[in-house]
């Protein structure tokens, strides 16, 4: 819509650059260095210290996945020609959805990487329904995650099957649901005129920078929320709902949203929630990689807030219903 003039030299309007961000950044960093001691003592109470540790861990854990996911999405955005996607996916959107869901198998990673990749796919002309199905399926059904699930549930191999099947079904349902009900204007992808008229390498690094700063910023927000939940919700609260079958499913699905654990680790956490039924734990495993605080935050950043506010609740409901159904049949 706008921004066509982004690289035409413009005489700087007088009120724009009062103090630049570099100066602000330098001031913030100096202030932080000066107040390092008081800051450290504020953070030394056990609760805040646990919060800081969990926050930093989530960030350290997610950064490689974010950075490599962003690099891959920049490759898609810059080096893979548009015609490739037209050939690789079936023409009809309704058929492209299941193909894209199953294509998730080949991307070993967790959910932080798949958000920028799905954004890139849409920008390169892949139908949004298919890109969204890929976004949901990839973190849940790739080989690393399924292997981790098998290791975490040595006595229940059916858990692996149930997780894979339920996740693919949810991804396809959401893709088709988007075809029927989705409106293109809900997705507001960052406008990137620069990518079209820059040299390839310059476009590559511009895409990397943009996605790291953007998705990364939202990742920080999500990690903060997850750390807060981790510290504030003691496990003993869960003990009380574990005995009620319906409530248990909803409680664990909600917990998956709040905890925002990486999809490669969530099976181990699910395994340790042994007071809950297998179906409830399946809901935890199906919902977790598709809807959680850090994902909602990142989706709002990459696709826009209007999209995230509709997509996340719809996915949550679909995932809970499908997980409960599959759990009832298979477990």
């Amino acid at each position: 819509m706008r921004g066509t003039d982004s690289h035409t030299p413009v005489t700087a309007p007088p009120k724009r650059r009062r103090i630049g961000s570099v100066e602000v950044l330098a001031a913030v960093l100096i202030a932080l260095l000066l107040f390092r001691q008081p800051l450290a003592s504020v953070l030394s109470t056990p609760r805040l210290q646990t919060w800081t540790t969990v926050f930093v861990s989530v960030m350290v854990q997610a950064t490689p996945f974010l950075v490599f996911g962003v690099a891959l999405s920049a490759v898609i955005a810059v080096f893979v020609p548009r015609s490739f996607w037209a050939k690789a996916l079936p023409k009809h959107p309704a058929l492209a959805v299941p193909v894209a869901s199953c294509a998730g198998v080949i991307l070993p990673g967790c959910e932080c990487g798949s958000v920028p990749i799905a954004g890139s796919l849409i920008r390169r002309g892949v139908t949004p329904a298919a890109a969204l199905a890929f976004l949901l399926a990839a973190p849940a059904i790739n080989p690393i995650v399924l292997t981790a699930t098998a290791v975490a549930f040595p006595n229940n191999p059916e858990m692996v099957v149930a997780r894979g099947v339920a996740s693919v079904i949810v991804a396809m349902l959401m893709g088709w649901l988007w075809l029927r009900l989705g409106k293109a204007e809900w997705i507001r992808l960052p406008h990137r005129p620069e990518l079209d008229d820059l040299s390839r390498w310059r476009a590559f690094w511009a895409a990397c920078r943009h996605d790291i700063v953007h998705a990364g910023g939202f990742l920080v927000l999500g990690a903060m929320a997850a750390a807060t939940i981790n510290v504030l919700v003691p496990e003993s609260v869960l003990q009380r709902v574990a005995d009620q079958p319906v409530l248990a499913v909803i409680a664990l699905a909600g917990l998956a949203v709040l905890l925002s654990i990486c999809s490669e680790a969530d099976a181990f956490v699910a395994a340790s929630l042994s007071q809950f039924s297998l179906t409830a734990r399946l809901a935890f495993l199906v919902v977790g990689p598709m809807v959680d605080l850090k994902l909602i935050s990142m989706q709002a950043g990459v696709f826009g807030r209007r999209f995230a506010l509709r997509f996340a609740p719809a996915t949550f409901v679909t995932a809970v219903v499908v997980a409960a159904g599959i759990g009832w049949v298979l477990l």
């Binding site: 350290v60 507001r188 960052p190 620069e194 511009a206 953007h214 910023g217 680790a265 042994s274």
Partner: protein
């Protein structure tokens, strides 16, 4: 936040990740296996930062109009001025601050008290014989699993040596505890072993101890999740420095 500032923030984040992954610091937060990926990600961040700053200085004549960052306000026309800069990027200073200035310790007794002992996750029925050695060195997890699910059969009369930190049990008694990780500290779960016999007294929580002793048939229910906590009949104990890899 303009491009140069974004470049600086990426440089700081990449530097912080590199610093944590090239020292033992990263072991406080994630599994050892992530190290090569952390180093790779740190290098890529630093490279992206350098390229960003370099391109910006070289093509700096153009005014920085960051048009990419107006997802939410539709119908906002105009020539690219008065747009919002990606303010969300400022948050990336938080992990840099966390890693370089605060550097929080590995999870300890407070986190262990919040969560129930996580033995059930490791349930197996096949226990190989204990390794050689007297006392035989076992992980807290291995001891607790053998004590609960094997009813101590594979432990027998052997003297075992465990290393863990002290957390406080339901009645304030010391528990020898170790956190287990599968990915990062957000999924850390404690494994707790209660101490009987000549159990340590007056040891502050989070103190690391090396304890030797034998299997005891006693158990205790963890009030957090109702799982069984095994006991160790302590013969000797001594404080030790925290190990490099605090998680099991």
């Amino acid at each position: 936040m303009n491009r140069q500032a974004q470049g600086v923030v990426m440089l700081l984040l990449g530097g912080a990740i590199l610093k944590a992954s090239l020292t033992d610091m990263y072991l406080r937060y994630v599994k050892a296996g992530l190290q090569p990926f952390l180093i790779g990600a740190g290098l890529l961040l630093v490279l992206a930062a350098i390229m960003t700053i370099w391109y910006d200085l070289r093509h700096g004549a153009t005014v920085d109009t960051e048009c990419a960052d107006d997802h939410d306000h539709a119908g906002h026309s105009g020539g690219g001025h008065g747009h919002r800069e990606p303010r969300i990027g400022w948050l990336l200073i938080a992990p840099v601050l966390g890693l370089l200035l605060v550097a929080p310790p590995a999870l300890g007794s407070y986190a262990a008290g919040q969560a129930g002992t996580a033995l059930s996750a490791q349930q197996t029925t096949d226990f190989p014989p204990l390794p050689d050695g007297d006392p035989v060195q076992l992980s807290v997890l291995d001891y607790a699993t053998r004590a609960i699910f094997d009813s101590g059969a594979s432990l027998g009369e052997r003297t075992v040596q465990l290393t863990g930190f002290i957390s406080l049990g339901p009645d304030g008694q010391p528990l020898l505890t170790r956190m287990i990780l599968s990915c990062c500290a957000a999924d850390a779960r404690p494994i707790k072993v209660a101490l009987t016999g000549s159990a340590p007294e007056g040891v502050a929580p989070d103190t690391w101890l090396e304890v030797t002793g034998t299997y005891s048939t006693q158990t205790l229910a963890d009030p957090v999740n109702g799982e069984d906590i095994p006991f160790l009949n302590v013969a000797t104990w001594r404080p030790v420095p925290a190990p490099k890899e605090q998680y099991e």
